[in-house]
Amino acid sequence: MMESKADTVKAKEKKPLPKSRIMVGEQLTQLYQEALQAKARGEKIGWSASIFPQEIAEALGICIVYPENHGAGLAARHQAEEYLSYAESHGYNMDICSYARINLAYAEVLTAPGNNMPKPDFVLCCNNICNQLTKWLQNLAKRYNIPMFLIDTVYNYTPNASDDKVRYVRSQIDNYTRQLEELTGKKLDPARLEAVMRISLKNKDLWRKANELLAHKPAPLSGFELFNYMSCMVCCRGKESTTKILEQLIKEIEEHIKNGTSTFPVEEKYRIFWEGIACWPYLGHTLKTLRQYGINLVATGYVNAWGLDYELNDLDGLARAYIDLPNNNNNLETVVNRRIAAVKQFRCDGVLYHVNRSCKVMDCQQYELQRRVQESTGVPFTSFDGDQADFRAYSEAQYETRIQGLVELMEERERQIGEGVK
């Protein structure tokens, strides 16, 4: 029975890619190509953390590539193993973030199947995601003897950044701007910065809109598909090409809503929230297992992951946005409130927690998050062990069992609601 459903799914997956997906692929290829070309011309290029204040480098016209995206790509294409092994054989513990291990190995060989990143002339780090990034990029800076520009956002153990913290982060942004100008010989044009900020803000709104269209029931899209567009926000959120892609994506989603169609190929029986980073090496398995039960992943933490909101030309506001936005830089209460709001907004029937072996900052407060979100919403949850890029941390059997368990819990809740049980 299960097999036949899976086969149906497979058959439907052979449909041609929508235009927006083709545009994403082209954008990413262009990004890496441009970095290689810039390097060949003798320009300085950088490697950057994914939620770094990209606005400055973008406005300066400097090519930046993103190791997290690069590592995720290798993992998704099942090409990460040799990098993981290389790093581990050179003393990097398996406990270290798998993106870091892949990249620290890549940094030694500077070649990979698919997209290649040229050797960096500087690294850009913002630790609003985690402290491991600080250590990881420190090692790169030391390895290459290149500058590291660290924007230290300091963990928000209270709900919002204090003014003292904003001043500290603003000062770092100013320093990084000045030093990057000196390093590259380029001068920041305020008009260009304003334009990049405007584009970034627009892309932020478009990204949110595309995600929020999945609140429609049934969802017009299989939620996993939005993972394919993340590179737009990680690598190119200050670029107009992203605006075009997201506008096209929204057009496609709205078309589905208008026609009453969906890219989710089976009846949407359950809607769930996915907590944590995607399990890139097993994207197919995680997706197909859910589909077998008619479970659509309609919301993720990525909905608001790039919701960086500020006023044009307000660099204090920009500093505050980069401190306050990422969940990983925030206290539990803030994250719980955001998750409760999302579960309600997207009308989720369940929550699926990825205990991502790479990410202690997500995992070490996840159990309390699970309890509080369930307590508040009544929505059942399950979790599974996995990793964003290390295939060894995932078990297909465990995942399948956990999903079965979640389905039973969701069925039971559905029954109780039907019977009017509170």
Partner: protein
Amino acid sequence: MNELLNNLQRLTEIAENPKKQLAHYLSQQKKVIGCFPVYTPEELVYAAGMIPMGLWGGPAEPYLAKSYVPAFCCPIMQSALELGLQGSYKGLSAVLIPTLCDTLRCITQNWKSGVADIPMIAVSYPQNRTDAGLRFLQAEYGTIKQSLEAISGQDVTDEKLAAAIDIYNAHNGTMRRFAKEANNHLDMITPRVRHNVMKSGHFMDKAVHTAIVRDITEALANRSIFSWAGKRILLTGIVAEPSELLDIMEENQLAVVADDLAQEMRQHRTDIPKGKVPLQRLTLQWKDRICSLAHDTDKSRIPLIARQVRDNQADGVICCMMKFCDPEEYDFPLIQDEMEKMGIPILHLEIDQQTGGLEQAKTRIQAFGDML
């Protein structure tokens, strides 16, 4: 000689029974503030008339903590959280938790959720230790000062803080002198004794600890120098525990002649500089610290270890790698490379406070000793 032995015995008992020490201070009607690893502004606690007491975990099997953190969470944090959840820290007026690593960030939240009867005061250290970073830290310390004043009911005046700084600097100097003198008496200052002298300081009024360690150091200096025939090692990492590991080193004729342990000499190698504004002076200590938890693209820790190896004629390095401690894990390959360049053997020894069986460690330390 008797006094020397008595003092060493006293510190050993305190190092091994922090709970008894907590009861001792509480019985004196003193307020005690728990201080999580690795750094907290203890001087502010002291200046507020309270006792700062280190919370460095211990051999507590996680049971309640499993509801908060996964198995791959740092063992010190698991056991410190477990002890908090079990009520073993009852009597503490508050805990200070620095958000220096990803796990510590989360522990602030888990503590708040699970140990509601002991208030948590988080401490954020800026990683860019520039003027702007230090201004932020001064504001942060200012907020913490207010919280501590509210708990103690005493104002932390500049005079009181300056006096506390003097006491802490004196303690640092005393610990450095002890570490140096200890190397002339490796028969008596075994790895475990050295560790206990260091560790006991986390559980004591620093002025009292300073006086005892000063007496120990003087008594040692009055002894004739012992010529150590075994091998000399440097320890690096967060902690070198459980103490049985140190016994294994002793059994294999390995003496600890220097350390870069967060629990031990990292606490004492950086004094609080002179200056007019005591709160600002505290921030400048953070600027000067060399540690895996303080951002440093130069990785100054590595040449520092190299220098210590040379200065103390160490034959080898044991890297006491706390399980799941990513800040240390990132530094290890670089330390290993440097030691290889220097021709200094290095042993990667996994540390887990919860581990009962030490057979593997025993074999590895023995093999390392033989190789040296």
